[in-house]
């Protein structure tokens, strides 16, 4: 039956049909041909046949599926269409460009439709990854099972579809809806990549609140990312973005950045002039001027404190008000101080709030008031409590 082989060609020992098609060349006449016979999981080895136009029985026998009567055979043609091959039906492998068969240990066929195209299957279930191979479905598409009277079901990785149910199982594909876990909130993304900032927003977190972002990927050390970094959701193992408030605890790191924001020029000159050890620090969205080792008048339980003054973004058009000290102060004789009950955690230290305000007559004036005048308020308040 091998009259199709041009007689003038030299015969070779073995010809791999799949390989020749892949390389786009004509089959060479050979003593043996190699075809692929797959199992229902789409795994399989090359099988050797002597005849380029084998019958179903010949293919099954060559693949060791004996007796052939107990098996079913499908072929996959060059367009990816599946078709049943009867036992005594010859398949012109050479002409039709068939290099793959699927053999089933089964005696009845099932049918399934994928994106409107019906194909046979030799067992009662088909796996998601096999469907992908059969249908040539890209990774960025998901497979959905159509259902009646309930929402269609997305197939998880490796999940099987039961074909034994009444009626034809209909499947369709759609671009995957990418998902990311942001601090326990699942965020859907139409795109395979997402800006960290957008992910936070979608999860309902305010991205401007000063978070430290940690991206966790399975099997990798956790990595810090920025709000404007792009997370690639296609990357396997992406688990979640974890949020940590951007507060910095006490420690050596604290000395690294002394200036997170600017003050007025005259403020800086004044603080330098006084020889104070000061820094401006962001704690989340809050902006603190912190003066270290600020010397106190006598009469308190401490000789010096860290002094914090909150500087609003619109300063000096926005006024300064109150101040905070760490550690908390009492009078040296043990008495407490009025309007200092409230506590504030500033960069890991607990500060005592002194609720001191300009009185009704003296209002904040953006043209003349500044850190300099506010320090006068601080000093006056501290002196007043100890009767100086």
């Amino acid at each position: 039956m091998n009259s199709i082989i041009p007689p003038n060609q030299e015969r070779i020992e073995r010809e791999n049909i799949a390989l020749s098609r892949k390389e786009g060349r004509l089959l060479r006449p050979a003593d043996h041909y190699l075809i692929q016979v797959l199992d229902p999981s789409f795994q399989g080895d090359l099988v050797e046949i002597d005849d380029p136009v084998p019958t179903g029985r010949q293919v099954l026998t060559a693949a060791g599926k004996i007796p052939a009567e107990r098996h079913l055979l499908l072929l996959i043609d060059d367009k990816g269409v599946l078709e049943e091959v009867n036992l005594d039906e010859p398949v012109d492998v050479y002409q039709r460009g068939v290099e793959q068969f699927i053999a089933f240990d089964s005696d009845r066929l099932f049918y399934v439709a994928l994106n409107g195209r019906r194909f046979p299957w030799g067992q009662a279930s088909i796996r998601e990854d096999v469907l992908r191979q059969v249908g040539g479905i890209a990774e960025d598409h998901a497979i959905w099972l159509e259902r009646r009277n309930e929402p269609d079901q997305i197939l998880a990785d490796g999940q099987s579809v039961d074909l034994d149910e009444p009626g034809l199982e209909k499947l369709y594909t759609q671009p995957k809806n990418w998902q990311l876990n942001v601090q326990g909130v699942m965020v859907d993304s139409g795109q395979p990549t997402i800006l960290a900032r957008d992910a936070l927003k979608a999860a309902g977190f305010n991205p401007d609140k000063g978070w430290i972002l940690v991206l966790k990927v399975k099997g990798e050390p956790k990595q810090s990312i920025n709000m404007d970094d792009v997370v690639d959701l296609r990357k396997p193992g992406i688990e979640k973005i974890r949020l940590t408030p951007a507060e910095i605890n006490n420690g050596e790191a604290a000395a690294v950045s002394a200036l997170d924001f600017s003050l007025l020029e005259q403020d800086v000159a004044y603080l330098k002039h006084l020889g104070l050890n000061w820094e401006t620090r962001l704690a989340g969205a809050r902006r603190w001027l912190i003066i270290r080792d600020y010397a106190l008048p006598s009469g308190y339980n401490h000789a010096q404190v860290d002094l914090a003054i909150e500087i609003p973004t619109a300063y000096p058009d926005a006024k300064l008000d109150m101040f905070f000290v760490h550690p908390a102060l009492t009078l040296a004789n043990g008495s407490g101080i009025g309007q200092t009950e409230s506590r504030e955690n500033i960069l890991g230290s607990v500060f005592q709030r002194w609720s001191r305000h300009l009185n009704g007559i003296t209002r904040w004036n953006p043209l003349t008031d500044s850190v300099i005048t506010h320090l006068a308020v601080v000093e006056e308040s501290l002196l007043r409590e100890v009767g100086q």
């Binding site: 200036l259 997170d260 924001f261």
Partner: protein
């Protein structure tokens, strides 16, 4: 913005006070020419603002005649020293008592002598210096030179007082006439203007729609926000699809405007006005519309308008409520339009925002736990309503705002505009209250006409030093 800047016409803006000072000095009443030196900062590459004026003493001039003046070069030395600190441009101005709004051959020759000296004194390679003429009717024309002494005329000189004055030389030694309000000529005149709208939401979107349809030449739109479903009942041009996609408000308008205007340039910026990028873009504008809903936004617009000498139109609406036995009821339905001229009383002077409200707003954002009154101060006071149905109120207020602009640029009112520094309307009472510029206490504004001198707007938050924020 750099690319679109390239072919822009040069604009010069000065404050009413500087204009008055110049006019008084240049026309002392003797019919003879007089001179002054103007120091200019920039609000954008092609827009200059008069920062300071140094009059040249009449007595020190060697020659003063009706058509000629010769003044001492020593006066320039003082100007050079002042200009150097902030890379200011120096513009020499003198009067033409005869009324010719244009440069004579003598003026040209004189400039070619003086300009090289000015450039010699400056290190900055890109700096431009220039000269200007003022005529008895107060009109000014001006031009700039580069180091090769190639000159470019300012296409227009703007002075925003109670009226928005614009002088464009007609080419025949005169000044172009202002067109009549609401005429077709007004539309073509508006084509030469750039307006910046900050906040493109409830009122802002309607202001934008009006300006675009009126014929404004260039629109700068600044808003950080995206369209949400709750906005659809009050942002014109916003669609369901925009809400689904979270389309930026400015992007929606940039594309919507182009559906009916092909001769308009829209520069949308999705950013907070509290950003360097937004402030620098706003510097291109001839007129500023503030349609934001925050104190900080208004504070920044106030500073921008002062620093860049832009007339500012600020619009707001509010629905005060009151408590009744049956619950909360409408107290009033109000709108407010403020017109701020550069050097006039600011929004701060008028109490639109205060050091207290700014601090409270900062705390509400940075440390919400610190603030006790948690009810969002939305349209309806005391009611946290995400989607109040207020488009009719917004339209009224936005219309009043744009009408205020038209009345200033193309005057049509029977009463002086000066009486309408602020207009407040109450729909509940059916009243309109006018507040005059003289009703407000004005404090000195150290940021007036500073242009882009650092720190930007004179605010420490924009200090260019090596700090992170």
């Amino acid at each position: 913005m750099s690319a679109s800047n390239y072919n822009l016409p040069y604009k010069l803006a000065l404050s009413e006070a500087h204009h008055a000072q110049l006019r008084e000095h240049l026309f002392p009443g003797d019919g003879l020419e007089a001179a002054a030196i103007i120091l200019c900062a920039q609000s954008a590459t092609h827009r200059y603002v008069v920062n300071r004026i140094l009059p040249v003493d009449h007595a020190s001039c060697r020659v003063r005649s009706p058509d000629h003046i010769s003044w001492p070069g020593t006066a320039i030395e003082a100007a050079i020293d002042l200009a150097e600190a902030n890379n200011l441009s120096i513009v020499l101005i003198h009067s033409h008592p005869g009324g010719m709004l244009g440069f004579s051959a003598i003026d040209d020759d004189s400039d070619h002598e003086v300009m090289p000296a000015l450039f010699e004194a400056s290190e900055l390679p890109s700096i431009l210096h220039g000269s200007a003429i003022m005529t008895p009717n107060g009109a000014i024309c001006a031009r700039l030179y580069d180091r090769q002494l190639a000159s470019t005329s300012f296409s227009a000189v703007h002075c925003a007082g109670d009226e928005l004055l614009t002088w464009e030389a007609s080419g025949q030694g005169g000044v172009m006439q202002r067109p009549m309000a609401f005429s077709a000529q007004m539309a073509s005149d508006l084509k030469h203007l750039t307006a910046c709208v900050v906040g493109v939401s409830g009122t802002g979107s309607i202001v934008v729609e009006q300006l675009a349809r009126l014929g404004i030449g260039r629109l700068i739109l600044i808003d950080f926000d995206e369209i949400e479903f709750k906005n659809l009942n009050r942002i014109v041009n916003a669609t369901l699809e925009d809400a689904r996609n979270g389309t930026a408000k400015v992007a929606r308008f940039a594309s919507a405007v182009r559906l009916y205007r092909d001769d308009i340039e829209v520069l949308p910026l999705k950013a907070s006005i509290a950003s360097r990028e937004a402030i620098e873009l706003a510097g291109l504008a001839d007129v500023l519309f503030c349609c934001v809903d925050s104190y900080e936004g208004r504070q920044l617009c106030d500073r921008i308008a002062a620093a860049f000498l832009q007339p500012l139109f600020d619009v707001a609406v509010t629905i005060p409520t009151r408590q009744t036995n049956d619950g909360v009821a409408i107290g009033d339905v109000c709108g407010r339009v403020d017109y701020v001229k550069p050097g006039g009383s600011t929004l701060a002077d008028r109490g639109v925002y205060t050091p207290e409200t700014l601090r409270r707003e900062y705390l509400r954002q940075a440390a919400p736990d610190e603030v006790t009154e948690q009810v969002a101060e939305g349209y309806i006071e005391g009611i946290a309503d995400e989607a109040p149905s207020v488009i009719s109120l917004n339209m009224r207020a936005a219309s009043d705002c744009v009408m205020e602009f038209i009345a200033r640029a193309y005057p049509f009112r029977q009463e002086p505009n000066q009486r309408r520094a602020r207009t407040v309307f109450s729909l509940a009472a059916g009243e309109e209250e006018l507040i005059s510029e003289t009703d407000f206490n004005r404090v000195p504004n150290p940021h007036l006409a500073r242009g882009l001198i650092e720190p930007l707007l004179g605010m420490p938050r924009f200090s260019p030093s090596k700090v992170k924020a």
